[in-house]
């Protein structure tokens, strides 16, 4: 008799847990579907290529001109540029921590890196705008120092901790035998690290880079405060631009629901999410190929 009660109780508990876990994880799909639904008129009226490759954004004109090419290009410049700056520093720091840092220094550095991830994006954006942009203005005698480059620079600082943490973990996973073998051969530690350890850890290190790229693409506040926010197609890294995330954050509040401006912002959001997801899927495929290659 007692067993029946205990069994029933456990059955109730486990079904609650399963349903809550399933429902809350399905929220992701719900989000995507909801955003797709809100943006549907854009896709059916303007079409995918018209929306993606149109370079004019005047959603309030009649008829509205809705194309987000400028924002996509800005997003790619900002995120790609950030990676260009962050990768050498992040990898360098990861190698330093995993192989070269004296113990006490590593013990300070790890929590410091952790804390850098705790500083919010708006603070980075604020400091970037108040210090870095000011510096550019004075140094190069510019009317305004905001640019995609400035945004990249600050974004780089924001993503370095992710690159460091994940790459260091990958480096540490390399079996110690390789280290012993290298040392026995008498090569320098730098040579050993670069020629043996890094290639063995490349899967994890590449993964770290892509994770950082995804974050950089979605980052909003720092980018919004630094990129300059002009709707023209940026011609170079040092032009101004308005990445997708900034566009949504700046304009959402001024739309009327179900208007084409509102719908266009949801379409832009969908594009941004799909870009992030595509990068993550792409890297997984790439890594699988690498793994099979040896």
């Amino acid at each position: 008799m007692i067993y029946r009660g205990l069994e029933l109780k456990e059955k109730i508990i486990s079904s609650i847990i399963i349903s809550v876990a399933t429902v809350s994880s399905l929220l992701l799909l719900a989000m995507l579907i909801f955003i797709l639904r809100e943006s549907w008129p854009i896709w059916s009226q303007i079409g995918v290529s018209g929306f993606l490759f149109g370079s004019s954004w005047r959603p309030l004109n009649t008829p509205p001109e809705i194309g987000i090419l400028s924002m996509i290009v800005s997003t790619m410049w900002v995120a790609g540029g950030a990676l260009l700056i962050a990768a050498p520093l992040g990898f360098g720091c990861a190698i330093f921590l995993a192989e070269f840092a004296p113990r006490p220094l590593a013990a300070i550095l790890r929590p410091v890196i952790n804390m850098l991830t705790g500083i919010p994006s708006v603070v980075y954006g604020f400091l970037g705008a108040a210090v870095l942009v000011k510096f550019f203005e004075v140094k190069f005698d510019l009317a305004s120092g905001e640019s995609l480059f400035a945004a990249s620079l600050i974004l780089a600082i924001m993503v370095i901790p992710f690159i460091v943490a994940n790459s260091e973990a990958a480096l540490r996973l390399v079996a110690p035998e390789y280290r012993h073998a290298g040392i026995a051969l008498g090569v320098s530690r730098q040579y050993l690290t670069l020629r043996i350890l890094v290639p063995l850890a490349r899967k994890g290190m590449l993964g770290a880079l892509v994770l950082a790229f995804g974050r950089a693409m979605g980052e909003t506040m720092a980018v919004l405060m630094l990129a300059g926010n002009t709707l023209r197609l940026p011609g170079s890294w040092f032009d101004k631009g308005e990445p997708l995330s900034a566009l949504i954050a700046l304009e959402l509040g001024s739309t009327t629901p179900a208007g084409s401006h509102y719908q266009a912002l949801f379409a832009a959001g969908l594009v941004l999410v799909l870009m992030v997801i595509a990068v993550n899927i792409g890297i997984n495929l790439l890594l699988n190929r690498l793994q099979k290659g040896g």
């Binding site: 007692i2 067993y3 205990l6 069994e7």
Partner: protein, 249 residues
């Protein structure tokens, strides 16, 4: 009377067969040792009895095992079976609770609430494993503070607290020193007066010292099961002779 009975029992992990056509009976009030080389399926056989083997991925079985006359496959509720069949593992595990709560972990779940009942169960079980005198002044201290041998006896007490009819032990002494091993062997001999005890052991001396009967398993097949003295001194199978002869030089 047989307490545990294997009937045409086979097990697989994925495609790989582990146990082949096991037919064997284990009697109550006796100790049966299971011996055999590493990887022969001894542990799987043991874990099949209380249906913990099936928690491994890809585990599958044919045939049946009867515990106290009932099929383990038809058991309505696993709690019933696991309460009848206690299990002690190789590594001594003290749950991160006090010594007292380790023993009462099972009884509390099965609804014993009354303070004096709980105290009685605790004292009885700790006495059964000869741990009472050692720990009676520190029952509320963390069990993690006990030594390896004490933890293993605590593990036995914890299993006894839900009043099992069968006690399974999977190499219970392999991580213990000779003194603790001796203590546990004595204890098992006493417990066998009321229980069906099945013990998997690597130590042939141990099998000889404590068991009434011994079963020899090789490559997933039961080669021979006989009274311990007979199995070690005049086994029917040459395979058994080959294995146990390691013992005699």
């Amino acid at each position: 009377m047989s307490t545990v009975e294997f009937i045409d029992f086979h097990t697989f992990y994925g495609q790989k067969a582990v146990l082949h056509n096991i037919n064997v009976e284990f009697c109550s009030k006796s100790i049966t040792a299971i011996i055999g080389p590493s990887g022969c399926g001894k542990t799987t056989l043991l874990r099949s009895i209380n249906r913990t083997a099936e928690m491994e991925r890809g585990f599958n079985s044919h045939g049946d095992i009867r515990v106290l006359g009932g099929s383990i496959k038809e058991v309505r509720n696993l709690s019933v079976l696991r309460r009848q069949v206690g299990m002690v593992y190789q590594t001594p595990v003290a749950l991160p609770l006090s010594i007292m709560e380790n023993v009462l972990f099972g009884p509390r779940y099965y609804g014993v609430k009354n303070r004096s009942d709980l105290d009685a169960i605790m004292e009885k079980c700790l006495r059964q494993v000869a741990l009472w005198d050692e720990v009676k002044d520190r029952l509320k201290r963390p069990a993690a503070q006990l030594s390896g041998g004490q933890k293993q006896r605590l593990a036995i007490a914890r299993a006894l607290a839900v009043e099992p009819r069968v006690l399974l032990l999977d190499e219970p002494c392999s991580s213990l020193d000779p003194a603790s091993t001796r203590l546990i062997e004595d204890l098992l001999t006493q417990l066998a007066e009321g229980l069906c005890i099945i013990i998997v052991t690597h130590n042939l001396f141990q099998a000889r010292r404590i068991s009434n009967e011994t079963a020899f398993i090789l490559d997933g097949r039961l080669i021979e099961k006989a009274p311990t003295k007979k199995l070690f001194e005049s086994p029917d199978s040459p395979k058994t002779r080959g294995f146990v002869s390691g013992l005699f030089g």
